[in-house]
Symmetry: D2
Subunit: 239 residues, 4 copies
């Protein structure tokens, strides 16, 4: 797979090392699920804006990276719905009286204008474009990983899941943390490249590299879609 | 703190974003512990060699990065011993009849020469320079994070620990995973910059950036040593 | 402490064994929190009734045992509020699209009358007598233990908690599971005897015995209240 | 299944309740594993003795209950080996520099005679009768549950396990804690009645009742053996 997004960030020595020891593919298993991570209002804002502009009103924004990923995520989500694999949405937990994991996470708390309060109220609302349908699991978390402080691993075990197809944000934050945990729990982890995004370009690229080296297959959307369609074709008709 | 190791890897937009929203310091707490991650033979080999040379015999080597970090780690470890903070070593678990987390992790398995077998036998031996002393905790793991599949969080809770000073390898692998989990469990996480290392230069830098942005304070060794000495000076004499 | 509730359930040999090896007290620590487990409508119903009558409409009812414990739980909760220790309520999670832990848990599912549906809708509502106040943590779970699938351990670590005072139901179910996990995480676990209840008398008694032997101090309400008051008296005025 | 071991410990009200709401069977799944919990020297001693005699030298002994269970456990283990299901042994972790979970667990620490020291040195040795064979997993823990502080859940996920057949000790301690966790992780839990034991008769009986009501099927050995044989007969020849 020539020309990966991380190539330009690696040093000459890094590239030499990787060419001597290219990572092997993990491969898909037989019981996939789709995991959508933190596709909430706080990282989109209400309309597409370049990140340096967007953070003036939405301090957690990922700028255009999120909006550009959104149609791809919709394609992935729609395919998962068509072929009927289990779907799990994860978002932030608010109002439980428990602090978030960050001792210093940016929260725009200095700004108490009515508009800022209204934005914070909608912070963890999953955006309309990928809103959960009835019957799809929706878990809420207070930590980077979708697995920590949620019943996710139990839910996936009950379903018999062996493969988790992942999308969402941020590549270097909650996606990365969830992929490490998923791998730790011995699921086959797949990251769909067009469907994850980040607020920093270098971090997006290098975290994709890290995950592809160690924990996951980082694959193009087309390959994930093709797998899902083949998977459905192989299921018994009544499944 | 001008001139960080990650600066040259960030894009122009990344730097503009960071300058608009610089991360806040977490700060040290009152009950520190030192965590040494995966300082085992497999990533050092038996003598210092440049990485591209070293991996011919030790496929998991981090090359000179590890050997260069070792004196700094010794300074940190010796200071922790002098001021008597709890010390926890973590290494890999072998021989339990359970596979590692990686479906494809490089393990030199193709090579079954007597020399290769002997190297694999010593794989998870903590190197002499930082070998545990009697009474120091030694935990063994089968996953990236020092917290997963080990009793680490229980041990630290029993000690009343609120601050974890971290060193070891790899910056982008087990250190990163442990720092995310430590932050998730609501410990104050400190990464000592000279005392962590990686097999890829870009990943070392960007993972330090990620951790400093989101989960930890990435600090110079001198600052960690100074904190530990001040901490001791403030303890009751009998402590 | 002569005359414990479990005495009549033990065999002669059991009593001889215990008299040769009486359990030692764990003792209170310095940073307590109160944990209220599963005080929801499903186990009370709308009014006190003997259990064999109550389960005809509320199949999960604990009968009078719950109603009899309620005033004691209120005393404990009010004391905790007065002395301002952290308070955590735990209840069931509904509507997340994830199944409960039980493959067979009684859920009255056969009954789809409007009344039964209305009861199920209120299933996990914490009863008014001990309803959470604003600012008190409320966590929702899908498993017996309050620790699994919730951020409870992170929350307690952030607070610096070392002692968990527990009440709620059922003694042999979610209380027991939470006490084992709390002990596992190395908190000092206290079970307030008058403030826990169960749908089976033998299980209530024997699980108190088990917890007192292995994981917790099972203490009378008066002792817990006295501890909380002394604790407050020792805090700095501004605390 | 008339005449269960717990019947004589239940109150009249308990029996009336159970007869109105008998527990449903969970049933076996398709991918079983055998879990042997804490079959170490500390609970057997070196020869069969009645418990009140045995605890004079082996304070953790379960007396004859353990020795009587041993042939049944051997039958179960041998069957599992014959039909080649995955086998996991769990024992205590010693020498890691980390304290056990118990603040007060009986450890015979007051006795420092050479004989007592020698007994403690062999404390967590799995007894010869059920010693692990090469290739069988052996995990070590510092807490009641086989799942906590060990990579067990990852190991079972990697194997695709959906059913855990459990034996060992104590019924009211580590077996119970492991069964609750296994159920929480959504495995089908089976407890083989003749193959678990406890130091207290009432606790053995009531914890079997609790598990059978809430978390597991408590079944006779013959049924577990029959299932394992049928399971093998249904596997493809090469499996």
């Amino acid at each position: 797979m020539p020309g990966r997004v991380w190539d330009r960030f690696l040093t000459e020595q890094d590239r030499a090392h990787v060419s001597m020891k290219p990572p092997k593919r993990i491969g898909f298993g037989n019981r996939p699920a789709l995991l959508l991570i933190d596709l909430y209002r706080w990282v989109f804002g209400d309309r597409p804006e370049p990140i340096l502009e967007a953070i003036k009103t939405w301090p957690g924004s990922c700028g255009l990276a999120g909006w550009n990923a959104l149609p791809h995520i919709q394609t992935l989500l729609n395919t998962a719905r068509e072929v009927r694999v289990p779907i799990v949405h994860v978002t932030g937990l608010a109002g439980a009286g428990v602090d978030e994991w960050a001792f210093r996470r940016e929260d725009d708390k200095g700004n108490s204008s009515p508009e800022a309060l209204e934005r914070r109220r909608r912070k963890y609302d999953i955006v309309d474009e990928v809103a959960p349908l009835p019957g799809e699991a929706v878990l809420k978390k207070l930590s980077p990983s979708a697995f920590w402080g949620t019943p996710l691993v139990g839910h996936l075990n009950q379903l018999g899941t062996d493969t988790i197809i992942t999308c969402g944000e941020s590549t270097s934050g909650c996606v990365r943390a969830s992929v490490v945990d998923g791998c730790t729990y011995r699921f086959r982890m797949i990251v769909v490249e067009e469907c994850v995004f980040d607020r920093h370009e270098a971090c997006h690229a290098i975290n994709l590299f890290d995950m592809n080296q160690k924990y996951a297959d980082v694959l193009p959307l087309a390959e994930a879609v093709e797998y899902l369609r083949s998977w459905r074709a192989e299921q018994p008709v009544q499944a």
